[in-house]
């Protein structure tokens, strides 16, 4: 029973007082920031990342993972209570969650979301435990050609999932890849795109990019929007779901978990796709679909379970292949690198305590989430009632301190400012920034693997289609692209994003 031994090792690591504490701190801080409207998980992680620098690697990653699902969950609370999704994955939760809140049933909506998420998190953690080792085995068979093709697949998937125009999303990825190449070339030491600035020699930090694109630009956009829209907040009377609520939602939780876990594993996947798919499915299987949008509890239970399951299983490509599947995982790559860990299949064999400890902590983190969110809901509600005009200067300050303390560099803050401007332009032009961040992290890896693959094949570009695994990955990527370009599917996709 290697599996049990691994799990035991994981829990031994995760259950030390220190790590439980950091897990709690991560979940708490993540929820705290995630609850604030207009701040998604990416900005939350970028802001809190510097707080983990001083920790030992295991504790740091445990805390970061906690921040991630805390932020994710906090976003759902905001979606239900004030109808403001913190990020794309809680958009669908707004539909029925806020409708329930308006009917005075915010409590049951929150409770079902929390319990559904916990169940989904538990299942997803088990999936991680079972599938990560065999996948890592496969990963050891990957050569540079396979890695390159896998990254192409991941990027294509990210394009398909970005809302707005496909061609814009492709351009955003290319721009991200280019930005990722800034700095000294690893093979030759040649400085690229540094424009004579020595501060750019090591490249631009990913936190700088993320904070500018997702943090600063969102603050500007929120100040603008806030002037036009007042938020009405729902009251919470009782937390307990009725017997009917539970009866109606348990199947939705099961379905949401299955869909979310499956879609989370896909490269380019993550929490968002799962929650949309789960909502659509619940609507399809419901006896009376017209209830949806008017406070159907299945419409909260399904997507909430799905997005939590997806959030968890999207760690699989990262931990086994070293490839981030979405913008959040791209940040995790950066965080691991800072702690001297190269994500990939070797982590499991070389640092088993880190690998299994992190996985075990996910389950603990999910448990803590339930504990935090149900009894402490009052605190989050209070926090939500603080007006934005008071919150955002504080957020701005913490963001600046966070970016500065990465390298104690004022240049980094100035660069983040530039990315803030760029991000604001992209918001105005309806270009989603997530593909850019993914491209940014993948840029150097892609170049490296492309170089190696062509070096090994002596410059023969057919290497990508003659190696079966690589070919398979590219075929899937091509199929994805074709599917999206076909008009019928395209319309469906637009519908899904409109909801």
């Amino acid at each position: 029973m290697e599996l049990l031994a691994n799990l035991q090792l994981g829990f031994d690591v995760a259950l030390t007082l220190q790590n439980v504490l950091y897990c709690f701190l991560g979940v708490f801080l993540g929820t705290l920031i995630g609850v604030l409207p207009g701040i998604g998980p990416v900005a939350t992680i970028a802001m809190l990342l510097p707080a983990t620098f001083a920790l030992p690697p295991v504790s740091a990653l445990i805390m970061l993972a906690g921040i991630y699902y805390g932020a994710q969950y906090g976003g759902s609370t905001t979606a239900i209570l004030v109808n403001l999704p913190g990020e794309a994955s809680s958009v669908v939760t707004c539909l029925d969650g806020y409708a329930m809140a308006q009917q005075g049933r915010a409590g049951p909506a929150l409770a079902v979301a929390a319990l559904g998420s916990f169940f989904a998190g538990t299942v997803a953690t088990l999936i991680l435990v079972m599938f990560a080792p065999p996948l890592a085995e496969v990963a050891f068979k990957f050569g540079p050609a396979e890695y390159f093709s896998l990254m192409v697949l991941g990027l294509i998937a990210a394009i398909v999932l970005a809302h707005g125009s496909l061609i814009n999303a492709i351009a955003m990825i290319l721009l991200g890849l280019l930005l990722g190449l800034i700095g000294a070339d690893t093979n030759t030491g040649q400085f690229r795109f540094t424009f004579g600035l020595p501060q750019l020699a090591d490249g631009i930090g990913f936190v700088v990019v993320a904070m500018g694109l997702f943090g600063f630009s969102e603050i500007i956009a929120n100040i603008e929007r806030r002037a036009r829209r007042e938020v009405v907040m729902a009251k919470i009377t009782s937390l307990f779901p009725t017997r009917e609520d539970l009866k109606a939602s348990w199947k939705a939780v099961l379905r949401g978990t299955a869909i979310g876990a499956l879609l989370g594993i896909l490269p380019g996947g993550g929490a968002t796709l799962g929650s949309f798919a789960a909502y659509t499915l619940e609507k399809k299987v419901a006896k009376d679909p017209s209830r949806f949008g008017k406070g159907a509890i299945e419409g909260v239970a399904g997507p909430e379970s799905a997005n939590n399951a997806g959030a968890q299983t999207s760690f699989i490509p990262l931990l086994t292949l070293g490839i981030p599947a979405n913008a959040v995982m791209a940040l995790m790559v950066g965080a691991m690198t800072i702690h001297g860990i190269t994500p990939g299949p070797q982590v499991m064999t070389e640092r088993p305590e880190l690998f299994w400890g992190m996985i075990a902590s996910m389950w603990i983190g999910n448990l803590l989430l339930v504990v935090l969110n149900l009894p402490l809901i009052g605190i989050w509600v209070k926090l939500l009632s603080v007006p934005y005009r008071i919150l955002y200067p504080a957020i701005l300050l913490f963001s600046c301190i966070g970016v500065y303390s990465l390298n104690n560099s004022a240049i980094d803050v100035a660069l983040a400012l530039a990315f803030g401007f760029l991000g604001y332009l992209f918001i105005k032009l309806d270009c989603e920034p997530a593909p850019l961040l993914l491209g940014f992290v993948l840029g150097p890896m892609m170049e490296e693997n492309l170089r190696r693959a062509l070096l090994l094949s002596r410059g023969d570009p057919t290497v990508f289609v003659t190696r079966p695994l690589s070919l398979a990955l590219l075929v899937v990527a091509a199929a994805l692209l074709v599917i999206v370009v076909v008009p019928a599917v395209r319309r469906k996709r637009e519908e899904a994003f409109q909801e």
Binding site: A54, I167, I219, R226, L396, L397, K428, G459
Partner: protein, 149 residues
């Protein structure tokens, strides 16, 4: 038929991509290209730059053909003051220390929202100063200078 911009959003996005793509390709030309077998540092970025510039052109052309949305009006006040606050922080943190940098950032930043009120901002500055000095500088040990001296 005269040529007109039918989708201002896409047209601007296309121009941005064209600009960055062309810039990247132009700069990368000066780096050693190498060959496909032994790629030089210029190879991949040059390729990406050309592709990005081409996509920019395609998006621009598309915007002349297909109707799209106008660009929403921007709040110059929010944009300039939020970014200005960040800039002021970057410019003062090393020379003037955390107290002045924080006060300026919060003051300038708060002015970005038309809803901000003077008294609230004053209280907020005091509160955040306490956090910046107490929690970040002493608590977390971040190496900030507190005052200019």
């Amino acid at each position: 038929m005269s040529i007109s911009i039918r989708s201002p959003r896409d047209f601007c996005a296309g121009l941005i991509f064209l600009f960055f793509g062309a810039l990247a390709a132009y700069v990368a030309r000066d780096y050693p290209m190498g060959s496909a077998v032994r790629m030089g540092p210029g190879y991949f970025p040059y390729l990406l730059g050309i592709l990005l510039a081409l996509l920019g052109v395609v998006i621009c052309v598309k915007s002349l053909v297909i109707y799209g949305e106008r660009i929403e009006s921007a709040s110059l006040r929010a944009l300039l003051l939020v970014l200005g606050a960040v800039g002021v922080f970057a410019g003062t943190i090393e020379s003037a220390g955390i107290v002045i940098a924080t006060a300026l950032l919060v003051g300038v930043g708060a002015a970005a929202s038309p809803e901000s009120r003077l008294r609230e901002v004053a209280v907020l500055i005091v509160f955040l100063l306490a956090l910046a000095v107490g929690l970040f500088t002493y608590g977390l040990g971040l190496p900030f200078k507190i005052f200019p001296v």
